[in-house]
Symmetry: C2
């Protein structure tokens, strides 16, 4: 298996990309192509001991940064790591592409270069979240901020295949994120999506509310990319705020400090559960290729786990299952 | 000061309403009118020792429950506690109205009965949230799920007055909740709202992202009622999930259990900070009257604090300040 990694994407590029790639090559035995500034990547590689045959470097002279407008920069920066890397995937010189860079640019480059799967009109980013009952998937978290109701049905079908073949769920339940459970609630967009989902073959459980998401009420949560993006960032922020506030309180109290030391195993375990880097990147579903998007603040471990996610995506041939399911509609 | 309390609104009505009203009457010295099923309210009142002169009961034979469609039930259930209570406010027989009942019905009854302040086209529910820097206000959390850009400007002006006169902030900063900080990001709705806010007299700091909300980056967070409702419920759920998960981890480990006992003061302090019932209800801004909406799962303390919020609203005459500010536009 050969995986292309945008080495210039994350906030700490190319350091974490190089480190994550070396770990993945050693642990999983995959071949990796690092795309980006060759001199910088080689300098980073030189800091590590590793068997070099599994890792190659493909030079790309430009970088699309976080603040570049997505569509324009994909068209103009033809020698950027995102465009060059995606091109390798398009030409079948690799099995999957991973980037922790500008999400909009990755979505745009993937859509333009790889094209969409037959039956899919818009791609969606799916993210796996921890819940009280295990894990669930939210789609879309930002590929498409103004979807049509039919796109939510397509997201549901794609996330169903993802949940079955990657998360091993046999009949995943689907919920539509709304301001109330009643069918009469919500915008016209939500009501139309509700009708389409009710008539689908998905295991649709109707509307769910914000409070149901982390309670794990359903396996798949459907929402537009605006709402999905906001709730993803809010959730991370709430978690951080709570842990920081608790630590402030603990530091202010001597007994509490001793208590926290004794409880540290519990804190570490919770941190591990909540840590997105344990789960790897988020697949961009709907494009005709395997494309994984990682967090801008990814660590080397997050990159390594994104590579694992990409390889599972290849092995399980999720896209084939999505297309088969769509054909039955 | 005389405050009307819908005694039938919460999940535990009228028990918590009666208890909260008695506490408020004793602590704050306000007169309270409890509206609802007279026999049940009197039975609840009979369980407490209190000076009866401050609390009166107004009978209402019907209840609008959580699952009733808002607009229809306000029109049909003319003898419901929400409609009867709002009518007392409209006839100037009271200074403020509080309900922990069906939010949509309260918004609808308030809009129909009290009418809107001059210059306001849609009401918005403002909620005070704890942040790393203190408190901030989110508006709207569910009064209006399909606002126009101009309504967000109106929310901003109302929340500005609320922040100045109730939260004591001298020049509150305002942020527009979006998927990115750049002006080019977001839906057409967001971009138009951004333009209106940039041209306003508000202390507008531009777009903010989900992660900025609980970090306390701005004093006032503007969003449509759909997004606001979802993020409010998600935030509560994330907080609950984290605390439950932490407790599970702690219980599984003997040393951690001892540690948690030692740290319990820190846990309690955090819980108190996060507890919405400490902050009282959420004002419905924009209606020509003082109307406070409480959480359906309110405790007696939450009801008492909602009564305190209502009385501050009356004392500070927030609506007068809103109207003055709007006149300058």
């Amino acid at each position: 298996m050969k995986i292309v990694l945008d080495a210039m994407g994350s906030d700490n590029a190319p350091t974490v990309e190089v480190e994550g790639a070396i770990q993945a090559a050693q642990e999983f035995g995959h071949d990796l192509i690092l795309v980006g500034d060759e001199a910088r990547i080689i300098r980073e590689l030189g800091k590590h001991r590793f068997s070099s045959e599994r890792i190659t470097v493909k030079h790309a002279s430009e970088v699309i940064d976080m603040h570049d407008p997505a569509a324009i920069s994909v068209r103009r920066k033809r020698d950027s790591s995102i465009v060059v890397g995606m091109d390798l995937l398009k030409k079948n010189q690799a099995d999957a592409f991973i980037s922790a860079g500008n999400t909009g640019a990755v979505v745009c480059a993937a859509t333009l270069s790889l094209r969409l799967l037959p039956g899919i009109e818009r791609p969606g980013i799916a993210i796996v979240i921890p819940t009280l009952k295990g894990v669930s998937v939210i789609i879309d978290v930002g590929a498409n901020i103004t979807p049509k109701p039919i796109h939510l049905l397509q997201y549901g079908i794609m996330a169903d295949a993802f949940s079955r073949y990657i998360l091993g769920k046999s009949n995943p339940t689907v919920g539509l994120l709304n301001v109330g459970e009643e069918e009469s609630k919500g915008t016209e967009f939500i009501k139309e999506a509700h009708t389409l989902l009710s008539e689908s073959k998905l295991n649709f459980e109707g509307n769910i509310e914000g409070r149901d998401v982390y309670a794990g009420k359903v396996d798949i949560i459907l929402c537009d990319g605006f709402v999905g993006n906001v709730i993803l960032k809010i959730s991370e922020s709430v978690a951080d705020t709570i842990m920081q506030s608790l630590m402030q309180e603990i530091k202010a109290d001597f007994l509490a400090t001793i208590g926290a030391v004794l409880s540290s195993s519990a804190f570490h375990e919770l941190k591990r559960k909540m840590d997105y880097s344990e789960r790897g990147g988020a697949p961009l579903l709907g494009v005709d290729g395997r494309c994984i998007i990682s967090h801008g603040s990814s660590s080397a471990k997050a990159i390594k786990n994104a590579i694992r996610t990409a390889s599972e995506f290849v092995k399980q041939d999720v896209n084939k299952h999505i297309v088969e399911e769509l054909e039955s509609y």
